[in-house]
Subunit: 86 residues, 2 copies
Amino acid sequence: MRATVVIRPKTGILDPQGEAVQASLHKLGFPVTQARVGRVVDLELETDDVVEARAQLERMADELLANPLIESFEIEIEIEIEVERT
Amino acid sequence: MRATVVIRPKTGILDPQGEAVQASLHKLGFPVTQARVGRVVDLELETDDVVEARAQLERMADELLANPLIESFEIEIEIEIEVERT
């Protein structure tokens, strides 16, 4: 089962990487008033159970992928739906 | 206007950061067969024109945000729709 965890710096938390990106974009002539940089982690899980996958992903994000003090995360799970036409 | 550029390593391109994440998740007991790490850049643009925004975002990604040799990118634009109830 495929899933994605998107990790972003929390609102109000300094984001030096985002500031650098914004400054560089400005120098290149792009009118950007804010830039924030986060991470996206695409995962292939062994489980095919959505509830189990969700629980695993939350623990992964809490324990390793995100820093809960300064980052927030969102979980996306890819669900395949088989449609049978008769 | 808000927009997001999601940048991922292209299929087939080595992703040492993803491999490190997968190894660490395995050590923590999570059954993950693959992990790939990319970036997400949230931007606040001055323009309110969707076509103009899209053109700007493609150029930003090509010129600064992504490395076209090894990374692919997706653009998401947030559109606010006003609904008037009479």
